[in-house]
């Protein structure tokens, strides 16, 4: 009897458990099917949608900070060096003779770019993280004044004009340029730039300023990109010229060579419309400089040699006598010394066709490259002493300033700022990220396509079969932690997989990144915070009425007439907060003629306002175009009932995410 009862009870329980399991699984599948709108999803992790909060993500947690040198300014007497330490929120003062750091000042907001006035009494500091320019008195090393500018100012230049002293500030995050008066410290104008204005040089005796725009713009799919050099009259902020550097991107540095009437930009010559797998042919990108004359004519020449590359050219400085220029290549840990006499002679004799071919002629650089100076890790900013006798190189990931004797081109010492942070896996990962040694012949680094971990605004041809056949838009790595899987086809479950052996063989065409370095790289990427797209003054502030209307539209479950919007076509279903992705594959009707599938990984939207172009191949130049040009049958959210005003509201909201 007891045995019979036990069997009955046990069997009932087993059936109940089995039934519950089957029913539960069936229910879960139904829940997934309804909520995602994807019919054959299979069982996926609940975490796909029911994501943890952002606070638990690596980039939201405290991390070590380092004495990474950014902008440098040299006092008029050449004895004192000022160094921006954005990661520390500090500005350091160093004595050139003793190579010692003498004072430090807390300057909140990520001081990044520096400039001194003519007498060296006031130091102007571009604080990238708080959208402001701080004025520091150099005698007491105290902050005297501050003024708000555009989003993420990266540099500042000082000049005297007939209308008074001026500061010119490229705002990399808002794509504009602030022109400030100094006394009083006021923003006079804010002028539209190209994309991501990054550095600035005063030219023509203060009558012009040249602003280098780091990111290129391509007007339409399959058009060649071009980076703009914006030329302003600093006295009134009027735009004098907008010079396009064709096929150039990452044009980060700019310097004036008054003796020759040149302005020189560092730049990367990018070939994104040629299959990126052709690395062995040097077809992906190469480094060079662009020489712009005041009449707007431009000649590009390479920094690279046939089988030696010097990627990620950044800081650039020209000697006062105009005979030399120095270019820091952050991906190669090298500063290239250019003999401008020889370069000038070549320019004088080269015909138009020869100058036109020059950017692709890797056999040309021997004519004007005088030397290559090895440096510490990731040199970016440069400065020369006023007499040109000393070159100061910011070794960003080595926490030091290399001082070079420009006569011998040999190191004359090093200013030690920090401990190099070699016990910090994030910093070690950034070293991997910025080093080009992991690509074939050291042609490019991760940073070459992901400056500061972000996008470069380009679509690349990843198809080996043809030219421009299968474009894929670059995706930002900022805020990417927790958004796995990666890649537009969603095939890479982890960053290690994404950047692992297949990546090395197919894209970098070299040996894979060793596992310890690969882990460090993944750690670094996971700690990249999302890109800030709103002004610092608006962080934490309520949404504007327009943004709030856009937010309601984003989370709408019904049309205004009460008609339900299917789950699968609600914005929030695929772009589910807090990451604004459900990390699933979906189709939004954008399959192109060369796409083998129309199903793509759902990108996260944090910082989406700065991620143009949009959609998997970058066909949409703006957020608006996603719905005005490339929407099909309401597949990418139900937008057919939106008015133009509602679309504008939605775009304003998206820019706040």
């Amino acid at each position: 009897m007891n045995l019979k009862r036990i069997i009955v009870v046990t069997s009932s329980l087993a059936l109940a458990v089995a039934g519950a399991t089957v029913g539960g699984l069936s229910g879960m599948r139904e829940h997934e099917r309804i909520r995602s709108g994807l019919p054959n999803l299979g069982l996926v992790s609940c975490m796909k949608c029911h994501e943890r909060g952002l606070d638990s993500l690596p980039w939201a947690k405290p991390r070590p900070h380092h004495d990474s040198p950014d902008g440098i300014a040299v006092s008029p007497d050449g004895r004192t060096l000022f160094i921006a330490l954005s990661d520390r929120d500090e500005v350091a003062e160093a004595d050139v003779a003793s190579l010692a750091v003498t004072r430090r000042l807390k300057v909140p907001g990520g001081p990044f770019g520096l400039a001194l006035d003519t007498a060296g009494n006031r130091l102007f500091v571009a604080c990238r993280n708080q959208d402001r320019i701080a004025v520091i008195g150099t005698r007491d090393l105290k902050e005297l004044d501050s003024v708000s500018v555009g989003i993420r100012p990266t540099a500042v230049a000082y000049c005297r004009t007939p209308n008074g002293e001026r500061l010119i500030v490229p705002n990399s995050g808002s794509d504009d340029i602030s022109v400030l008066s100094v006394a009083p410290l006021l923003e006079l104008t804010r002028t539209a730039a190209g994309r991501e204005p990054y550095s600035v040089a005063v030219s023509d005796g203060g009558r012009r300023v040249y602003i280098a725009n780091r990111m290129s713009v391509h007007e339409r799919l399959l058009s060649q990109p071009a980076s703009e050099v914006t030329v302003l009259d600093p006295s009134d902020g009027h735009v004098l010229n907008r010079v396009d550097l064709q096929s150039a991107h990452l044009a980060e540095g700019v310097t004036d060579v008054p003796v020759r009437g040149w302005v020189i930009n560092s730049m990367v010559r990018v070939r994104n419309l040629i299959p990126i797998t052709q690395v062995k042919d040097g077809w992906v990108m190469s480094s060079g400089i662009a020489i712009t004359r005041h009449d707007g004519s431009v000649t590009q020449v390479p920094l690279d040699e046939a089988n030696a590359y010097f990627p990620d050219p950044s800081g650039i400085a020209a000697s006062p006598d105009g005979r030399r220029a120095y270019v820091a290549s952050g991906g190669a840990d090298v500063v290239t010394v250019l003999d401008l006499d020889r370069l000038g002679a070549w320019l004088d004799h080269a015909g138009e066709a020869e100058r036109g071919d020059a950017p692709e002629n890797m056999a040309l650089s021997y004519r004007y490259v005088a030397a290559r100076i090895p440096t510490g890790c990731n040199p970016q900013h440069l400065a020369l002493s006023p007499d040109g006798s000393r070159l100061f190189i910011a070794e960003r990931l080595d926490d030091g300033i290399l001082v070079v004797d420009t006569t011998s081109l040999k190191p004359a010492g090093r200013i030690i700022l920090g401990d190099r942070g070699l016990d910090d896996p994030i910093r070690l990962g950034e070293r991997v990220f910025t080093r080009a040694r992991y690509s074939f012949q050291g042609q490019f680094s991760c940073r070459s396509c992901h400056p500061d971990g972000h996008v470069d605004g380009l679509s690349y041809d990843f198809d080996g079969a043809g030219v421009g056949d299968n474009l894929l838009a670059n995706r930002s790595l900022c805020g990417v932690a927790g958004t796995e899987p990666f890649k537009w086809n969603g095939k890479n479950p982890t960053l290690q997989y994404q950047d692992g052996p297949r990546f090395a063989r197919v894209l970098m065409r070299t040996d894979e990144i060793p596992q310890p370095q690969l882990d460090q790289l993944a750690t670094y990427i996971k700690h990249l915070p999302p890109t800030r797209t709103v002004p610092w003054s608006r962080v934490g502030q309520p949404l504007t009425p327009s943004e709030e209307r856009g937010r309601k539209l984003f989370f709408a479950t019904r049309r205004p007439d009460g008609t339900p919007i299917p789950f699968a076509r609600q914005c929030q279903t695929c772009h589910r907060p807090p990451l604004f992705t459900n990390r699933l594959m979906t189709s939004v009707g954008t399959q192109g003629a060369q796409d083998s599938s129309g199903v793509f990984d759902t990108p996260h939207l944090i910082g989406v306002g700065a991620m143009a172009p949009y959609l998997h191949d970058g066909r949409a130049r703006t957020l608006e175009e996603i719905w005005t040009v490339y929407q099909k049958d309401d597949l990418h959210g139900v937008s057919s009932y939106w008015s133009k005003e509602q679309l504008n509201d939605l775009v304003e909201y998206l820019k706040t995410i």
Binding site: T189, R190, T191, A192, G237, R621, E624, K644
Partner: protein, 386 residues
């Protein structure tokens, strides 16, 4: 206690009327101060016209808009592209192949802060800056509609008048607002023109009169034809002459409304309206394309020539039957006078005007005219103490 006396008198010099405003102030102590004399200059008198056409290098016979920028360069919006007059007098054209959004440039405005030129075209709004065009369309931006009739830059905001409302692009924040019948006091969204007022923005609305927008408060006020009839003027001098607004212009506290049924003038200081129609008043034609305000003088571009007025005196420049230039002058208490000129406007169908104290430019349907004035306005102004 300050006492302000305002009165006017007439005096004639060089055949022009001088209106004098005398501002006489007394200090709080009662001591008299020297009277301040502000002279209203006479209407500018055109001595002759210089005309330019396709044979002179204009890209089209039809010129829609004309603007002399703050740097002195003359810009033309034509049916065949944007055109600038080079220092040597040659005309240089920019077209869609250069990045201009559409060949037909209807209106232009300068952003004096950046020196950029904003262009209203039949297919989008273009910015011309440093020799480079950037185009905003209804698909790639928040622009309400691709057909842009009028454009103005007001306090860092670019205003675009379109058939789907007035679009306001804030240059610094790069955000768009749309004002139409849903959120503004507009009868319908069809906007033709934008003009900066004193702290407000005037929107010329087709069939909706004039809408005044106060950016500080976000409030709207509509000025509508009180009789509601655009064919007959049943209630003159009591409001806009018609709701069909073809253009608006504002300066020195005076708002001018151009319609296809006459002209209106609104003095914002005392909230009074004046209206004019052809035949009954000196206005040369009811069909007004645009109006340009300089000081207290309005330059009125019509299908039959140009009227110039300060609200009291009028000069009409027309093209006679034989192509001769004629000016008809109307002065208070005088009979109208007609004089034949040695030169004439390039065409009587005038689309737009730009003028200052020294010259005027006329965009016409068959060429461009440049007007040179008779000598400088007399500096004399009659003044008298009360």
């Amino acid at each position: 206690m300050n006492i302000r006396h305002i009165f006017s008198c007439r005096a004639f010099a060089n055949n022009a009327l001088l209106c004098t405003l005398i501002l006489w102030s007394r200090g709080s102590t009662g001591a008299a101060t020297t009277p301040t004399v502000a002279a209203v200059p006479p209407l500018p008198r055109i001595s002759r016209f210089e005309n330019f056409g396709e044979k002179d290098g204009l890209p089209s016979h039809k010129v829609h808009s004309v603007l002399k920028a703050s740097d002195g360069r003359l810009w033309l919006g034509t049916t065949n592209g944007l055109c600038v007059r080079e220092p040597n007098g040659a005309f240089r054209r920019y077209g869609p192949e250069d990045g201009l959004s559409h060949a037909v440039v209807l209106s232009m405005a300068e952003d004096t802060e950046s020196g950029d030129l904003w262009l209203a075209t039949m297919q989008g709004l273009s910015r011309f800056s440093g020799g480079k065009f950037t185009t905003f369309t209804q698909t790639n931006s928040g622009l309400p509609n691709n057909v842009v009739y009028g454009v103005a830059v007001i306090d860092g905001t670019v205003w675009a008048a379109t058939p789907a409302g007035a679009g306001a692009y804030h240059i610094r924040s790069k955000t768009w607002k749309i004002f139409d019948q849903n959120n503004a006091d507009m009868e319908e969204p069809w906007c033709y023109a934008i003009a900066p007022g004193s702290g407000v923005v005037y929107i010329g609305v087709w069939a909706g009169g004039i809408v005044e927008y106060d950016p500080k408060t976000g409030s709207f006020k509509a000025y509508r034809d009180p009789d509601g009839d655009f064919q007959f003027q049943l209630t003159p001098n009591s409001g806009p002459i018609a709701d069909i607004t073809s253009w608006v212009a504002y300066q020195d506290g005076i708002l001018w409304q151009a319609t296809y049924f006459g002209l209106s003038r609104y003095d914002t200081k005392d909230a009074t309206w004046r209206t004019w129609v052809q035949d009954k008043t000196p206005l040369v034609s009811n069909f007004i394309n645009t109006v340009f305000a300089h000081g207290r003088v309005a330059w009125i571009a019509t299908d039959r020539g140009v009227s110039v007025t300060d609200g009291i005196n009028w000069d009409n420049y027309i093209v006679g039957e034989n192509g001769q230039g004629m000016v008809r002058t109307f002065r208070s208490a005088q009979d109208p006078q007609t004089r034949t000129m040695s030169t004439a406007l390039a065409n009587g169908f005038v689309l737009a005007i730009w003028a200052d104290d020294h010259e005027a430019w006329f965009a016409t349907s068959n060429g461009l005219s440049h007007a040179l004035f008779d000598g400088p306005p007399s500096p004399k102004a009659s003044a008298s103490n009360p």
